[in-house]
C-alpha cells in the first residue's frame, strides 16, 4: 500500500485543500462606512442662559467667530447689539427669562456664563453658571435639598420648531411618578419652567432627568430657597466615575447621588486636595438605594474648599455637591475632562473667579492665558498638577483681563472648576471645553 495520492484524485484533493484554506481566512471586519468617525470643526453653536432681572450674561469664545446673534425669551426691547460682536468678550443684562446666543465661525468655541443675585425669596444669594448648549439628556441632582422650595427647571427652546422633552423625577424614597412632565412641549423660541415643588411637593431632595425627544432644547436648573440660590448646569449622562471640582467652601457640604438603576449602587468618594488625595471619612461606601436619591452630609472635618471630589460607583450614577454658608449656597456638578480649551470670566462683581484644577492618576499641566475683552493675550501661566491632587490656579495679575482660557498640555487628564466668593456669598460653575470640534460619524451617500 502506498501513501501517494493517485493522480486521478488530484482534483478532489485540491478542492479539499481549497475549502480548508478558505475556512481559515479570517472573517472580514464588520462593515463600516469608509473613514469612520472623525472630528469635524463646529461651524455654528448655540447656548442658552436662564436669566432674571439684573442678571449678567457673559459671552465669549476661544477664537473669534464670524457672527453672533442673541435673542431674549420672551423677546424684550433689551439692547443686545453687544452680543453681535463675535470677536470680543462681552456682557450685558438682558432681562428675564432667558437669553439664547447663536454664533458662527469655524471652531470659534463660543461659551456663555450667567451670574447674578437672587431675589428675596431666593435668599438673595449669588448664582454663577456656565450656560448649557442643546442637551440630549440633562441630570440635576440634589435640588430642593435643605428646604430650597424655589427650585425649578427651565427648558429653553433654542430653535424655531417645537421641542418635546420628558422630565423624570427621583426622590429619596424612589422614583416620583409625574405624568404631567412627560412629553412636555416647548414651542419654538419659548421657555417652559417646571417648578420642583409643583411636581415633588414634600420631597426632601430630588433628582431630575430631562430627556429631549425632539427639537433644539436646553435645560438648566435653578436651586433656590431661603438658604440661597444657585444655577445648576446640567450633567449630560450617568457615569461610574465623575469628578466634582472646586467647591468654594467646606461648610455645609452635602453630597447628593441619584441611582436610577434597579440595584443598590455603592459609591466611594475620594478628596483630591493640594497635597494629594485621601478617602473622605464616612464617604468610603455610600449605599444609594435603587431608583432613589441619597444625600450625605460631608463631615465637617473633611476639608473640601478648593479641592476636587472623585466619585466612583459600581453602577452609573450622577452626583452633585452643595456647600452652604449662612447666606448662600453653591452647587458643584460633575466636570468633564478638558480635551480642549475652555474659557471662563476673570471676575464677577469685581472679585476674581477662582479656578481649581485637578488631575487623576497621572500628573497634568494646563496653561492659563489671560485675555482682554478684545481677545488680546495678556500672558500665560502654567499650572502643574500632581497626580491625584487639585490646585488653585494663580489669580490674574493684569487688571485688564476679561476672561481666561485654560488649555490642557500633554497627555494627563485634567478637570477644572470655577468658583467665586464674596464673604458669605458663594457660587460655583462647572468648566467644560469650548465646542471647537465634534465627532461626526462616517457618512456615505449614494
Amino acid at each position: 500500500m502506498t501513501n501517494r495520492v493517485s493522480p486521478r484524485f488530484v482534483l478532489p484533493v485540491l478542492a479539499l485543500v481549497l475549502v480548508v484554506v478558505a475556512s481559515f481566512v479570517p472573517e472580514p471586519e464588520p462593515a463600516t462606512v469608509d473613514g469612520g468617525e472623525r472630528a469635524v470643526p463646529v461651524e455654528q453653536a448655540s447656548w442658552a442662559c436662564p436669566t432674571q432681572q439684573n442678571w449678567t450674561v457673559m459671552a465669549g469664545q476661544v477664537k473669534a467667530g464670524t457672527s453672533a446673534q442673541a435673542v431674549t425669551i420672551p423677546d424684550t426691547a433689551a439692547d443686545l447689539a453687544v452680543f453681535s460682536d463675535a470677536a470680543s468678550w462681552r456682557s450685558a443684562v438682558p432681562g428675564p427669562q432667558a437669553l439664547v446666543l447663536s454664533q458662527e465661525g469655524k471652531s470659534s468655541g463660543p461659551v456663555g456664563y450667567v451670574a447674578g443675585r437672587g431675589t428675596k425669596d431666593q435668599g438673595e444669594g449669588s448664582a454663577f453658571s456656565a450656560c448649557p448648549s442643546i442637551i440630549d439628556e440633562a441630570w440635576f441632582v440634589g435640588l430642593a435639598d435643605s428646604d430650597r422650595t424655589a427650585a425649578k427647571i427651565t427648558l429653553v427652546n433654542l430653535g424655531s420648531e417645537r421641542a418635546v422633552a420628558d422630565v423624570s423625577w427621583w426622590g429619596e424614597l424612589g422614583a416620583i411618578e409625574s405624568s404631567d412632565t412627560a412629553g412636555l412641549v416647548v414651542e419654538g423660541g419659548k421657555t417652559k419652567v417646571v417648578e420642583v415643588e409643583a411636581v415633588a411637593a414634600g420631597e426632601a431632595v430630588v433628582a431630575v432627568r430631562v430627556s429631549r425627544r425632539r427639537g433644539a432644547l436646553s435645560a438648566i436648573a435653578t436651586d433656590a430657597g431661603s438658604g440661597g440660590i444657585e444655577v445648576v448646569a446640567p450633567t449630560s449622562a450617568l457615569a461610574k466615575s465623575q469628578v466634582l471640582v472646586g467647591p468654594p467652601t467646606t461648610a455645609g457640604a452635602r453630597l447628593a447621588v441619584v441611582n436610577p438603576s434597579t440595584s443598590t449602587a455603592h459609591v466611594k468618594v475620594e478628596v483630591r486636595g493640594p497635597a494629594g488625595s485621601f478617602s473622605a471619612q464616612g464617604l468610603e461606601d455610600i449605599a444609594v438605594p435603587p431608583e432613589s436619591v441619597r444625600v450625605v452630609a460631608v463631615p465637617a472635618q473633611v476639608e473640601l474648599a478648593q479641592s476636587a471630589l472623585s466619585v466612583t460607583s459600581d453602577l452609573p450614577v450622577v452626583a452633585s455637591l452643595t456647600v452652604a454658608t449662612a447666606d448662600d449656597i453653591a452647587t458643584v456638578v460633575p466636570a468633564s475632562a478638558l480635551t480642549g480649551p475652555a474659557a471662563v470670566p476673570t471676575e464677577l462683581a469685581g472679585l476674581p473667579v477662582q479656578l481649581v484644577v485637578s488631575a487623576a492618576e497621572s500628573a497634568a499641566t494646563v496653561e492659563v492665558e489671560d485675555f482682554t475683552a478684545q481677545m488680546e493675550s495678556l500672558g500665560t501661566a502654567q499650572v502643574d498638577v500632581a497626580a491625584g491632587s487639585a490646585v488653585l490656579a494663580p489669580k490674574p495679575k493684569m487688571r485688564d483681563s476679561a476672561y481666561r482660557v485654560i488649555r490642557p498640555v500633554g497627555e494627563g487628564k485634567v478637570w477644572v472648576g470655577a468658583n467665586w466668593r464674596d464673604k458669605n456669598l458663594i457660587a460655583a460653575s462647572v468648566v467644560r471645553p469650548a465646542p471647537l470640534t465634534v465627532i461626526a460619524p462616517g457618512v456615505s451617500v449614494r
Binding site: L14, V19, V33, I439, P441
Partner: protein, 928 residues
C-alpha cells in the same frame, strides 16, 4: 336522387368541353399527364396544348401527342391566364366549358365527368374544382378549394401533410379553386375576362374565384374529381428558363393586389392599412430571421402595390360593374379571423417542442395510415400512456407544477428582496432609462443605464403593462428553465436517458440550492439558465468552428455578464483555454470574446473592470458564506439548502474518477467544478465597496457554488455509462440511490419551503407609504454612529431594477455628504437649505440611532413627522429654497444609447438561426 338526375341530364345532352393544358419545361411530367388525359372515362371535346416554346423536349412531347387537337405556342413571357386566353382565342369550335390543366397534374380517369356532375347541378355554379392530392405520394391532400386570410395568405384549410381519408368528400361552395383542374363555364370566363393579367403566376386562381363569387356565381368543389398535382414550381422541381419568371416579392405582391383589388369599398382604407403594417412587420420578421431576400421581396411587394395607386384604382374600377355581392355576403367563404394566429400558435408550439425536445420511448404501434393504397381506415395500435411515451415532457410538466407550488407565497405580485428591487412599473420606464438624459433617481442621475436594462427593455415589451411578470417568471420558473437548457445540453454529452433527465433536474435545482431563487439573485439565475446553452454552443464551436455560433457565444457572454459581471471574467478565461486547446477555433473564439466585451459597453468599466465585479444586478447586500457552505453548493443566504445535501453528489463525483474509459471527460467536468469552487470560495472571502465611501459588503458566493455542483454532477453523468459494464454493475443500485438523493432532497426543500423569504411579493418598503405616495425625494439614513451612516437618496418608493445602479454626480454626492454630516453634528439652517437645493423633501431614519436623531432634531426648518414605527423618524424639510436643476447628460446620450441598443440588436439578429424562405423566387432557381 338529385345527383343521379343531374348526371342523367348532362349525359343525355353532354356539354362541349375544351381542355387547355399549359406547359412550361414540363417534360418530366408531361408523358404521364397526357397519358392520364387519354385515360379519361369522359374526355373533353377539344384539347388544346399551349406552351411558350422554351424547351425542345416539351415541344416535342406536345407535338407527338396523338389526341391533341391543337398545339398552340403562346406569346413570349406571358402568364398562365394569358396563355389560356391565347389558346381559347385560337379555338374555333363552340364550347360550353373550359377545363384548365397544368403540365404537372395527372387526372383520375373520372375527373372530368365528376366535375361535370357537380357543375351541372345548378345554373348558378360557374366554376368547379377537383380534389387535389399530392403527386407522387397520391395520398396527401393538397387542396379541396382555397380561400384567403385577412393577412393575404392562401389558406387551404388543411393540416400540413393531411392524408385523404375521405374527410373532405363533401362538395361545397368555396371562395376559389386552383387553376389545376378548374372547370369554368364559358360565359363566366368571358364575363370575368378570364384571369387577371396582373397576376401572371400567383393568386390568379383566388382572384378569379373571388371575382366569380362577387359576380354572383358559385364556385364549388367536386371532391369526386381527383387530380394529382406535383406542384413542380412550388417544390422547386421545375427549372424555369425563358417565358415568364418570378420576380422578388411577386408572390406577396400578388396577395396584396388580390386583397386590395377585391376589398369592399368602405373597408378599402382599413384593409390597406392592415396589410401595409402587416407587411412592414413581416419585413422586420424576415430581417430577424436574416432572410434578406424575403425582406427585400416584402419591400418590393409594398412598393409594387402601394406605389401604383392608379393601377389599383383601374383594377377596382374594372371589377366594379360585375359586383353583385359584397364580401360580407361571402363571409362564410373566407378563412376565420383566427387562422393567422392559429398559424402563429402552431409555430410557437413547434418552437417549444424544439426547445423541449421530448424524450420519447420507442414504440411499435404509432398511429399510421394504410400505405398500400388499399386500406382507407387508419390502423390504431395500442399505445402506452402519453406520460410514458414522453418522459422528459412529463418531467418538465412536473417541474412547472412544482415551480408553481414552490412559488405559492409569491403569486400575483412583482417580486422583491433586499437584493432584488421591484421591476419597473411599466416597460416605458426601462426604455426611458436607456434614452433619457436625466434620470429621476436619487438626487438625479445622468449615468448611462446598466447593460442589463437593454435586455430587460427588450424582453419586457410583450409584458408592457406588467413588467413585474418578467422577474416573476424568471425566478419562479427558474428551475424548469434551467432544467430545460441543461437537458438540451445533456443530449449532446450523454446517451443515458434516465441519468440525463436526473442530471437535468438536479441542475435545474441549483438555483434553489444556492439560494439564488429565494434571495432574488437574478444574475446567478440567468447565469445558471444560460450556462448549458453556452456550453452547448461552445462545444459545437470548438468542434466545428463557424461564425454564427461564435456570435451566439459572444451574445450569451454579454447577456450573463450584464447581470452577473463575474461571468465575463470566467468566460474570458474559458475562451482562452478553449482557444489554446482548439487552435482552429481561435479566430471564432476571439470574435466571441470581442462581442461579449463590446456589447457590455460602458458597463464594462462601471462594473466589470472597476473592482465591483462581484456585484450582480440588484442592490449590493452583504452575503456572508462559509467555505463549508460553498462546498455544499450554498450561497450562504436564507433559503439556500443545508450544505450536507450535496454530500452524496460529492461522493459520486469522486467515484466517477475511478473508471478509466470515462476519466478524461470526468476530469474536464472536475476542472469546471474546481474552477467554480475557486470562484465561490474567492467570493466568500472577498468584499467590495459598491460606491465610494460606502460600507464594504461581502461578495455573493452562490454563482461559484452553483458552478461547483454543476461540474460535479456533470462528472457523474459522464461516468454513468460505466455502471452498465460488467466491472461496475454491482455499484449500480447504490449509485442510483445516491444520485437520486440530491434532486429528491433539493426538490423537497424547494417545494416544501417555497421560494419566499427573503424573496417576497410585496415591495420592500424603503420609505413609509405616505412618502412613497408623495413621489418626492427622501434621504434614507441607515447605520449608526459607530458603523457610520449611509445616506441613500430615493425618489418615491425607491429605485426599480436597473435604476438602483445609477448614481448622481460627484459634486452633488459631496454636497449631500457634507449636509448630512453637518446635520448629524452641528445642524443648522444652512444644512437644511442645502438639502432643499438638492431636491430633498424628507429625511427618513428607519432604525434610528437616537443620539443622531436628537442631533437632526435640532436643525431648524426640519419638522418631525409621524413615522411608520416607534424606532423610525421622518423629518420634512420646510425650506423655501428652490431645488436646483438635476444633472443632465449631453445631447448625444439618446444617440449613444440607441447605438448601443442597435449593437445588441444586430448581434442578436446575427445570432439567430438563419431562416430560408421556402418560397424563393425564380431567379434563385435559375442560377442552377
Amino acid at each position: 336522387m338529385h345527383a343521379d338526375d343531374s348526371t342523367q341530364r348532362w349525359r343525355t345532352k353532354p356539354p362541349s368541353v375544351v381542355a387547355v393544358l399549359v406547359a412550361h419545361r414540363g417534360s418530366r411530367w408531361l408523358p404521364q399527364t397526357l397519358a392520364s388525359l387519354d385515360a379519361l372515362s369522359y374526355r373533353p371535346n377539344t384539347t388544346v396544348l399551349v406552351h411558350d416554346n422554351t424547351d425542345q423536349a416539351t415541344r416535342d412531347l406536345l407535338a407527338a401527342n396523338a389526341h391533341a387537337d391543337r398545339v398552340v405556342v403562346s406569346k413570349d413571357r406571358t402568364g398562365f391566364g394569358a396563355q389560356v386566353a391565347h389558346a381559347l382565342e385560337s379555338e374555333t369550335e363552340a364550347y360550353d366549358w373550359i377545363w384548365l390543366l397544368h403540365d404537372d397534374a395527372v387526372c383520375a380517369p373520372d375527373a372530368l365527368s365528376a366535375l361535370l356532375d357537380e357543375a351541372t347541378k345548378d345554373d348558378s355554379i360557374g366554376i368547379v374544382g377537383p380534389k387535389i392530392r399530392e403527386w407522387p405520394s397520391l395520398r396527401r391532400l393538397l387542396e379541396v378549394g382555397v380561400t384567403v386570410t385577412g393577412t393575404g395568405h392562401r389558406e387551404t384549410g388543411l393540416e400540413s401533410g393531411e392524408p385523404d381519408a375521405g374527410q373532405h368528400d363533401r362538395a361545397q361552395d368555396v371562395l376559389a379553386v386552383s387553376t389545376a383542374g378548374m372547370l369554368v363555364r364559358r360565359d363566366v370566363w368571358e364575363s370575368l375576362s378570364g384571369l387577371d393579367p396582373h397576376l401572371p403566376l400567383f393568386f390568379d386562381d383566388i382572384d378569379f374565384g373571388w371575382r366569380a363569387n362577387r359576380a354572383g356565381y358559385r364556385v364549388r368543389t367536386a371532391p369526386k374529381a381527383v387530380l394529382f398535382h406535383a406542384e413542380a414550381a412550388r417544390n422547386r422541381r421545375r427549372v424555369r428558363r425563358g417565358g415568364i419568371v418570378e420576380h422578388s416579392g411577386e408572390r406577396r405582391a400578388a396577395a396584396l393586389w388580390t386583397m386590395l383589388a377585391n376589398a369592399d369599398r368602405h373597408r378599402f382604407v382599413l384593409v390597406s392599412t392592415r396589410l401595409l403594417f402587416g407587411s412592414l412587420l413581416r419585413f422586420v420578421g424576415f430581417l430577424f430571421g436574416k432572410d434578406l431576400r424575403s425582406a427585400r421581396g416584402e419591400l418590393v411587394a409594398i412598393g409594387h402595390v402601394f406605389g401604383k395607386p392608379g393601377q389599383m384604382s383601374r383594377a377596382r374600377g374594372a371589377r366594379k360593374p360585375l359586383l353583385r355581392r359584397s364580401n360580407r355576403d361571402l363571409k362564410d367563404l373566407f378563412a376565420s379571423f383566427w387562422m393567422p394566429y392559429q398559424h402563429g400558435l402552431d409555430l410557437a408550439a413547434s418552437t417549444v417542442q424544439t426547445v423541449v425536445r421530448p424524450e420519447e420511448v420507442e414504440t411499435m404501434g404509432l398511429r399510421t395510415l394504410g400505405e398500400d393504397g388499399e386500406r382507407d381506415d387508419p390502423v390504431v395500435v395500442e399505445l402506452p400512456p402519453w406520460w410514458r411515451r414522453h418522459p422528459w415532457l412529463t418531467c418538465v410538466l412536473g417541474l412547472f407544477a412544482a415551480a408553481l407550488v414552490a412559488g405559492r407565497s409569491v403569486v400575483g405580485s412583482p417580486l422583491t428582496s433586499d437584493v432584488l428591487p421591484p421591476a419597473a412599473g411599466s416597460i416605458s420606464q426601462w426604455w426611458a432609462l436607456l434614452f433619457e438624459r436625466t434620470h429621476l433617481v436619487g438626487l438625479g442621475s445622468a449615468d448611462q443605464a446598466p447593460a442589463y436594462v437593454n435586455i430587460l427593455s427588450a424582453l419586457g415589451v410583450p409584458l408592457w403593462f406588467a413588467p413585474g411578470l418578467l422577474t416573476w417568471l424568471l425566478i419562479v420558473l427558474a428551475v424548469p428553465a434551467a432544467a430545460l437548457t441543461a437537458h438540451r445540453f445533456g443530449r449532446l454529452i450523454s446517451d443515458d436517458r434516465g441519468a440525463r433527465m436526473t442530471w437535468a433536474v438536479s441542475y435545474g435545482l441549483l438555483v434553489v440550492v444556492t439560494g439564488a431563487a429565494s434571495g432574488g439573485y437574478v444574475g446567478t439565475i440567468i447565469a445558471l439558465v444560460i450556462l448549458p446553452l453556452f456550453a452547448n454552443i461552445l462545444l459545437r464551436l470548438v468542434l466545428e468552428p463557424t461564425w454564427p455560433p461564435a456570435i451566439t457565444v459572444g451574445l450569451l457572454i454579454a447577456v450573463v455578464a450584464a447581470f452577473a459581471p463575474v461571468a465575463w471574467l470566467l468566460a474570458m478565461v474559458t475562451l482562452g483555454l478553449c482557444a489554446f486547446v482548439a487552435r482552429p477555433a481561435a479566430r471564432q473564439l476571439a470574435l466571441s470574446a470581442l462581442i461579449g466585451t463590446v456589447l457590455l459597453g460602458p458597463w464594462l468599466f462601471d462594473r466589470v473592470l472597476s473592482g465591483r465585479i462581484w456585484w450582480e444586478a440588484g442592490n449590493p447586500v452583504d452575503a456572508p458564506a462559509t467555505a463549508l457552505q460553498v462546498a455544499g453548493g450554498s450561497g450562504g443566504v436564507i433559503g439556500a439548502t443545508p450544505a450536507w445535501i450535496a454530500i452524496p453528489l460529492v461522493v459520486l463525483a469522486v467515484a466517477a474518477l475511478i473508471p478509466p474509459p470515462t476519466r478524461r471527460a470526468v476530469t474536464v467536468a472536475w476542472i469546471v467544478a474546481v474552477a467554480g469552487l475557486v470562484v465561490g470560495l474567492a467570493a466568500s472571502v472577498s468584499t467590495f465597496t459598491p460606491y465610494p465611501g460606502a460600507p464594504a459588503v461581502r461578495a455573493w458566493a452562490g454563482l461559484g457554488a452553483g458552478l461547483w455542483l454543476a461540474g460535479l454532477m456533470t462528472a457523474v453523468l459522464f461516468a454513468w455509462p460505466m455502471l452498465r459494464t460488467r466491472k461496475y454493475r454491482q455499484w449500480a443500485k447504490p449509485a442510483v440511490v445516491m444520485l437520486a438523493i440530491f434532486p429528491i432532497l433539493a426538490g423537497g426543500w424547494w417545494v416544501v419551503r417555497g421560494i419566499d423569504d427573503p424573496l417576497q411579493a410585496d415591495p420592500v418598503q424603503l420609505v413609509p407609504a405616505f412618502l412613497a405616495a408623495g413621489n418626492g425625494t427622501t434621504v434614507v439614513l441607515t447605520g449608526d454612529s459607530e458603523a457610520g451612516i449611509v445616506a441613500d437618496a430615493v425618489v418615491g418608493s425607491g429605485p426599480f431594477l436597473g435604476a438602483e445602479a445609477l448614481r448622481t454626480t460627484a459634486d452633488r454626492e459631496e454636497r449631500l455628504h457634507d449636509a448630512v454630516e453637518s446635520l448629524l453634528t452641528t445642524p443648522s439652517s444652512d444644512d437644511v437649505e442645502e438639502l432643499a437645493k438638492l431636491g430633498v423633501d424628507h429625511l427618513y431614519a428607519p432604525d434610528v440611532d437616537l443620539g443622531l436623531a436628537r442631533r437632526i432634531d435640532i436643525a431648524p426648518r426640519l419638522t418631525q413627522k409621524g413615522s411608520d414605527s416607534p424606532s423610525s423618524r421622518v423629518w420634512a424639510i420646510t425650506s423655501d429654497a428652490e431645488p436646483e436643476p438635476l444633472p443632465t447628460a449631453g445631447p448625444l446620450r439618446p444617440w449613444i444609447s440607441g447605438g448601443w441598443l442597435l449593437l445588441w440588436l444586430v448581434v442578436f439578429v446575427a445570432a439567430l438561426p438563419v431562416h430560408r424562405s421556402t418560397e424563393e423566387p425564380q431567379e434563385a432557381q435559375e442560377i442552377e
